[in-house]
Amino acid sequence: MGFQVLETSKLLNYARARSLWIVTFCTGCGGVELPPTATARFDFERFGIISTPSIRQADLLLITGYVTPKTLKRIIIVYEMMRNPKYIIAHGSCPINAGIYWDSYNTVKKLDLYIPVDVWIAGCMPRPEAILRALVKLMRMVKEGKALGWKRYLENFEFYRKNQDRLFGKDWRKREIEKLRFYIHD
């Protein structure tokens, strides 16, 4: 009931769109284009976007490049630790279809089988302009209340978990949580 208001309020959606905080987690080559996007030439802080090292404070997860199973486990944990509403931008060709590493044994070929992605950026490597365009598109989607990846994840959690279990084996969460026991509380 209260959630309905929180989700649809125009003011809140505007504030969400204008204050996307990125969690500082680079997963591949694409991380090299993020500092240029953040600094003088392109400056994404104009849109209120900053990067924060704390997962709890972040709204946006950038998957910046190819994803290996080991990274994917961390991505899923980070994504689940972020507070709703949260968004994902997948960056480059690699999360779409593994790009140039299409025949590698250690890359994840289709990212959206495991976590819901809101905006895709094609290309290798995406230019800062492309990243900014994706960010602006995400901002528009958030403002209109259309960036609902987090809701898809809640609703189709069984589907995602089935795929995750198929890749990592059953009980992978327990094993990871054992490794990261201090960092995960709920």
């Binding site: 500092p35 240029p36 600094t39 990067s51 090292p53 250690n106 201090f182």
Partner: protein
């Protein structure tokens, strides 16, 4: 969970230790994580947890033709891809037994030095953020953009240029490009002085990094350390002089070395390398010969390489970067082995140096080694 409880779980016996997992969600470690055991504020033991980026380059290279391997193998080290593509091209040139034209050599030198400067400027971003001074990092990445723009004009791409090719370089220098480069070089020389004032000669930086994570020459050599990290211990070990490639034999430059082998020496060696690279670019532009840019190479469809093996190495911004290529006479390499500097710097040396340092020093030590996580995992 209270602190006491946490310590009880993390500790062994009476020593009150706990574990910190630094990375991969961390501002400095980028793509690997360090599991440090901490006693009070002092690091007792550090273990590097790498492998977040393993893509099996050496296996993938066996399934691609020699030409297809150029765009693949340059992705080994993301902030500094030009050195990787040059090293691979040089290995293939050795196998094909071709000598690249003089103009290509000079253009390669210019491109490699530009790549070194942009890699060092990118490192400045991380280094200054590690000690909490964001201003210089922001400036240096913005100044790096000027080099990236020139790269874009020359090669058509910002990061992965695919420009140094077996046989030479792919495109000739466009009209007016050298003038623009000279302008950027002059601008960069002026900016370096400002960096010095704010960052490299900053008292707090010196107090924080002088004497930190010292490494002796013998230790460094026995571990296989190369590049600025070895030069910081006082050894002028640089393949641009020892095993010259491209146009380096014709160019006059010195090799900066440190004295104590501590974190500040490593920082200053890199800072002086930027200056020396700018000088090399100036000389290379002045002496740039005319002529062809590509040696005759086999037809792309019949790109068969005679059997044999070759090892080629370059002095990348991080250390020795080499490719060992074995050919069995077909159009695909039989085996490609990559010798990257970062595994040694980022795993063995880092684990050795992260002992008896404070928690606050971890990012400083890590960044002063300038490793490249994609190169660790390959």
């Amino acid at each position: 969970m209270s602190i006491q409880e946490m310590r009880r779980i993390g500790g062994e016996g009476s020593r009150e230790t706990f574990e910190l997992i630094i990375g991969p969600v961390h501002m400095e470690t980028e793509n690997f994580s360090i599991i440090v055991t901490v006693e009070g504020d002092t690091v007792v033991e550090a273990k590097v947890n790498a492998g977040f980026l393993h893509r099996a380059f050496e296996k993938l290279a066996e399934n691609r033709t020699y030409i297809q391997n150029v765009p693949l193998l340059l992705r080994v080290c993301v902030p500094d891809p030009d050195h990787a593509e040059t090293a691979y091209s040089m290995a293939v040139e050795q196998l094909l037994d071709i000598e690249i034209p003089d103009r290509a050599k000079y253009i390669r030198t210019i491109v490699l030095e530009m790549a070194r400067i942009s890699a060092h400027l990118f490192w400045t971003f991380g280094m200054s953020a590690a000690v909490g001074l964001y201003t210089v990092g922001q400036w240096s990445v913005a100044d790096r953009e000027r080099f990236i723009e020139l790269f874009e004009e020359l090669t058509g791409a910002r990061i992965y240029h695919i420009y140094n090719f077996p046989g030479g370089v792919r495109y000739d220098i466009p009209m007016g490009w050298t003038d623009k480069l000279m302008k950027v070089v002059n601008h960069m020389e002026k900016r370096l002085k400002e960096y010095d004032k704010v960052f490299f000669e900053n008292d707090i930086l010196i107090t924080r990094s002088r004497g930190l994570a010292k490494i002796s020459t013998e230790e460094a050599i026995s571990l296989g350390v190369t590049g600025p990290n070895l030069r910081a211990t006082g050894v002028p070990y640089d393949f641009r002089k020892l095993d010259p490639y491209a146009a380096y034999p014709y160019i006059d430059f010195e090799i900066p070395t440190g004295k104590y082998g501590d974190a500040y020496d490593r920082i200053m060696v890199r800072r002086r390398e930027i200056e020396i690279s700018l000088n090399i670019i100036k000389q290379a532009i002045k002496e740039l010969p005319s002529g062809p840019i590509m040696a005759p190479i086999p037809h792309p469809l019949y790109y068969n390489v005679p059997p044999g093996d070759a090892y080629a190495r370059v002095e990348s911004s991080k250390g020795e970067f080499g490719f060992y290529v074995v050919s069995d006479g077909s159009d695909r390499p039989w085996r490609v082995h990559i010798r990257g500097p970062s595994f040694i710097h980022g795993v063995q040396l880092l684990e050795k140096l992260l002992k008896n340092v404070r928690i606050a020093d971890i990012p400083v030590v890590l960044k002063s080694l300038d490793n490249c996580p994609p190169d660790i995992d390959r």
